[in-house]
Structures are given as C-alpha cells and as structure tokens.
Amino acid sequence: MLKALVIDPGKCTGCKQCEMACSYENEGVFNPAKSRIRVFDFHHEARFVPYTCTQCAEAWCQQACPVNAITTDAMGVKVVHENLCVGCKVCTIACPFGTINYNASTGKVIKCDLCQGNPACADACPTAAITYQDVEQTGYDKMKLWAARTGTGESAGPNAPAARH
C-alpha cells in the first residue's frame, strides 16, 4: 500500500522541528536551510504551512533531468541519485512546486524522498500536522488535485512517466 505525507496546516505551530529532523536525517546536521520540508509562515494570516514534495505522478523533475539522475522507486517516490546528478539545476526550474532545490555545498540537488519510507518530519512533528498515511486518505487526493493544476497538457500531466499505468 502506498503511503504519503499528509499535511494539515491548521495544526502547525511553526516550530520547525520537521525542518530540524529532515536536515539531521539527510545531512547529519541541524540545518533548516538544507531541509527538504519548509514551513511557510503567513504571519498576518495566523497560518503556518509545512511544504514539501508531493511525489507527484507527473514527476516534472524526473522528466527534466538530462542524465537520468532522478528515478521513481517502487513506492512511487522520486529519488535523486547523487552520483549521477551533475548539478545542472534544470529540475529546479522545471518543478512547478519548487520542491527540488540546489544545494551549493554539494553541487547537487536535494528533494524529499520520504526517508526511505520512514519520514523523519512526521516523526518529529509535535502536533500531528504532518503525518504519514495511506494514500487512500482524502488529504492525499487534495494534494494530487493541487498537483494536477499545473498540467501542461489536457487532463493529467503529459509529462507523466511513460511507464505509468
């Protein structure tokens, strides 16, 4: 069964423990600037929005990669292979969600890979604003809807991977 991060901004307090957990898990240090998840602070609207890759089926980043450094794993997760990434950054402008970023200190791009099925951000969230759930949950549908809004072709994204069934 496929699982996904389900984010409920209404529960987020803006503590950024998710960013800390993510950077520790992926970079081995506490460094929100290198986190794959980011909490947007809409101060004037009293709202905090944790934001990260939805592992969209269209996989704009993967399609745009010129050297096949981003692949889809068995769980549907789009994974960057650091050994192949040349740092051209085309994926960073291709991803309309802005969730794949260039890391100048490594010269590679970074994105959420759901921590190989055990996302540290969800574990660290003190208010259950970020949970890791079965994709059948409604929250995921909402995210997919959002993802679908960016399609270039009719209906689903024409950029979707060839092997998608």
Binding site: P9, G10, R38, F40, F42, H44, E45, A46, R47, V49, Y51, W60, Q63, A64, P66, V67, N68, A69, H81, L84, V86, G87, C88, K89, V90, T92, I93, A94, C95, P96, F97, G98, T99, I100, N101, Y102, A104, G107, W146, R149, T150, T152, G153, E154, P158, N159, A160, A162, A163, R164
Partner: protein, 430 residues
C-alpha cells in the same frame, strides 16, 4: 506498427519510451546521428569540468535500457524523407515507417568569420567536440570563447573550472541577452570579471588567424575594437539552428523550425516533430516558436509519442525557461521575462549582494520572471506562471515585495486569498 524516431536526444528518447509504454508490441526504431549511446548535450559542460565521465552524460543510465524496452537504436544520419511513401533515407538506405518523429535537434551556427574553420577553432556541441576541447583547453591555456549567450555561458563555466585563461567575446551589448535583461546581464558580467575573466561585450571577432610566431599552432583573434588576443583554442558558441536540411523537398514545411500543429503533427501525414527542431506553441505567447530547451524537448517527445500511439493529446504550449550557474552565481528566467505591453513590473536589485529579481505581471497573473542569486523554491516561479493562478491581493504585494513570490505561490495553492493583512473581513482559521 513501426515507429521511427529520428534523433536520440531527450525528445527522441522520451518519445521512444512513451511509445513503448503505450504499445508493448510496436516496433520502435531510434536513430541516433552520433556514434555514442543517446546522451545529453546539457551534461557536456560537466564532462569538461571533470565532474563526470562520458557515461555520465548518457540520457539513460541503466545498461541495456533500450534493449530491455525493445527499442532498436541505430546510428545513422538522415539524407532525406519521402513522406508520401513513408520512407526515411538513412545514409542512402530507405527505412520505411508507419509513424515518424523528427527530433533531430539543432546544430551550432558557425559565424562568417575568417579563420573560423581553422584547427583549434571548435564548437562545443557534441561529445566529439568535448574530447577535442579537453585536449586543447589545458590549465592556464589562453582560450577565447565567442558568444556569451545561454550556451556560451554554460561553456564558460566549464572552461573556467578547467582553469583556462579565458576571454569571452560577445557581439551583443550584454551577456545572456536572450535570457535576461541588462541588469542581470550586467551583474553576470561583473561577476565574471570579479572572477578574473575578461568579458568583452559589444565586441565582434573580425578574424582568426594562425599566429605568425611561436609554434605556428597558436591562434590570434582580432577583435572589432582593434585588439588582438592570442589563443590556444577558440570555442564558438554563436547560436544554433534546427537540423532540418534533409527535409528539403519532403513536403514537410519548415519555417523557423518544423511547423507543427497543437498535436505536434507536421504538415506531412504521420510525421511528427519534437524538441529543438520543432516550431511548437509557446505557452506564454500562444505563438509557434522554437524553444530549444531540455524541458520542452521532453514535453514535446512525450506528447508527440502519445499522439503517435493513438492517444490524442493537445500540446497547450511549453514555457520558455532557463537556469544558469555562472561560477556559483545562479540565475534563471521564465516566460515573458521582458514584460508585456500594459503589464506591471517589479524589480529589486542588490548589486553588492549579487541578487536581482524581476517579476512581470499581466492583469493579475504572473507571466514572466528573472532571478539572480535565487535558489530556494525557484520552481515556484514556473508554478505561478504555468498555472496562471490569479494573484488576487497578492498582485499588489508582489509588485511592492517581489521577494515574496514563493509565499504567494504557497498561499495561493493553499487557497489563501492574501486578503488577510490589507483587505477587510478575512476568513481566518482558528
């Protein structure tokens, strides 16, 4: 059913894979004009820098990828096309097809400069070019790069990383003239100069000649400003043009590129075109134009293949965009970055901090953007333009604070109207 795909760049490879996904039984032939496995030109600068080997440029990394998918890869160049009899001529042999995709890409233009055909004067386009450049561009070797457009600037980075003593000559008044405005172009130039490069804009190469003295191997490059510079290597990056010569007399109409309709069909039956050679719809203008960039090639390849395979899919248009890393200074541009008539513009410049952001808004939609020094969530600029999200209250906010574009995108995608701080009676969650 026999699908022939002419050209094994990103458009061609994506198309071949897409077709295989649609039809497990079709015969798919992928014709590459170069001897290597399908590779990415975009990766060549990283090969020059030494970050990767040749195999690191390959479009697909798994060994046996094409065999596994049952895609026949041929190495041949097209000599002509008979669309009426559905035959493609390869090195003189006729290859029949049921459906044909032309994804032949583009080739560099050699400007009409005396001496442009001398040894040690190279374009930087193919792996073969890259090998020769690597032989010639030694550490501290004097190198002249002709052209500081997008491709020139990518090559520039690679030559800098190789430690060459680099002079860049650009005929236009600024660098990356077709990607960014004069503020950004000027910033890039200053950055290059701060890194020790000579960047000569508004300057033409008049002549390249073998050096009279010395080994006889060296070149002297004469410039329109009267100066002359020595070079061990001259790299030409003066633009590209679509590879469409073989289509003369084929019945396929060629304008700036191969004319295609909104299903990427050419004027000939069962012949499609994709990528750098195709003149397809630009999402921003709705006009047909050649957008010679990687993401567009992939989009074209995918949509053309869907149509070839019987799944009618309209191409709504591709968004022009580029990203460039100039020795650590990262810049990007999207859509109608020059702005539109009657539109509104927001610009903020921090010369000392090497940052620049310009947004172009038409009505209450973002239609174009340029950024220097921005790497966080840069794709959201595409997101805002591509989705045509109505900016609502964010329009005025972005005009006064364009640096908040990422916030605007997330807020709008979350259904937050942005009326919270200026407008009355906002709905606020508890």
């Amino acid at each position: 059913m026999h699908h022939v795909i002419l050209g094994a760049g990103p458009a061609g490879v994506t198309a071949a894979e897409t077709l295989r996904g649609l039809d497990p039984d079709a015969r798919i032939t992928l014709v590459s004009g170069e001897p290597e496995p399908p590779y990415s030109r975009m990766a060549i600068p990283y090969l020059l820098e030494g970050g990767i080997g040749e195999s690191g440029t390959y479009l697909r990394q798994q060994p046996g990828h094409y065999d596994r998918l049952g895609i026949e890869v041929m190495h041949a160049r097209a000599g002509g096309l008979d669309a009426a009899s559905k035959r493609l001529f390869l090195n003189g042999d006729a290859l029949p097809y049921d459906k044909l995709l032309i994804s032949t890409g583009a080739s560099p233009v050699t400007p009409p400069i005396e001496g442009a055909n001398l040894p040690r004067v190279h374009t930087c386009w193919t792996l073969a070019d890259a090998r020769r450049i690597m032989e010639l561009a030694d550490r501290s070797a004097p190198v002249v790069l002709v052209g500081a457009g997008f491709i020139g600037s990518i090559v520039l980075e690679a030559l800098y990383e190789r430690g060459c003593d680099l002079t860049v000559v650009e005929i236009a008044p600024r660098m990356v003239a077709r990607m960014m405005d004069d503020v950004a172009g000027g910033m890039l130039k200053r950055w290059c100069e701060a890194k020790g490069l000579r960047v000569l804009t508004n300057t033409r190469v008049e002549r390249i000649a073998k050096s009279a003295n010395g080994s006889g191997e060296e070149l002297r490059v004469s410039l329109s400003d009267g100066g002359t510079i020595p070079a061990q290597l001259v790299v030409m990056a003066a633009g590209v043009r679509p590879n469409v010569g073989f289509l003369v007399g084929s019945g396929v109409v060629v304008e700036a590129g191969i004319r295609v309709d909104d299903h990427l069909r050419t004027t000939a039956p069962d012949v499609y075109a994709a990528g750098d050679c195709a003149q397809a719809v630009d999402l921003s203008t709705g006009m047909h134009d050649v957008l010679a960039i990687q993401p567009t090639a992939v989009e074209h390849g995918r949509i053309a293949a869907l149509n070839m395979g019987g799944r009618r899919t309209r191409h709504r248009g591709s968004l022009n965009m580029n990203v460039l890393d100039t020795m650590g200074l990262i810049s990007s541009s999207f859509g109608l970055w020059q702005g539109v008539q009657g539109g509104a513009s927001a610009k903020i410049v921090d010369e000392g901090g090497w940052r620049y952001l310009r947004l172009e808004i038409d009505g209450d939609r973002l239609v174009g953007a340029q950024a220097v020094g921005l790497t966080e969530h840069v794709g959201m600029l595409r997101g805002l333009i591509q989705t045509g999200l109505r900016l609502g209250a964010w329009r005025d906010k972005l005009l006064s604070a364009p640096e908040r574009a990422a916030e605007a995108y997330v807020a709008l995608a979350q259904g937050m109207t942005g009326h919270g701080w200026t407008g009355p009676r906002t709905k606020t969650p508890v």
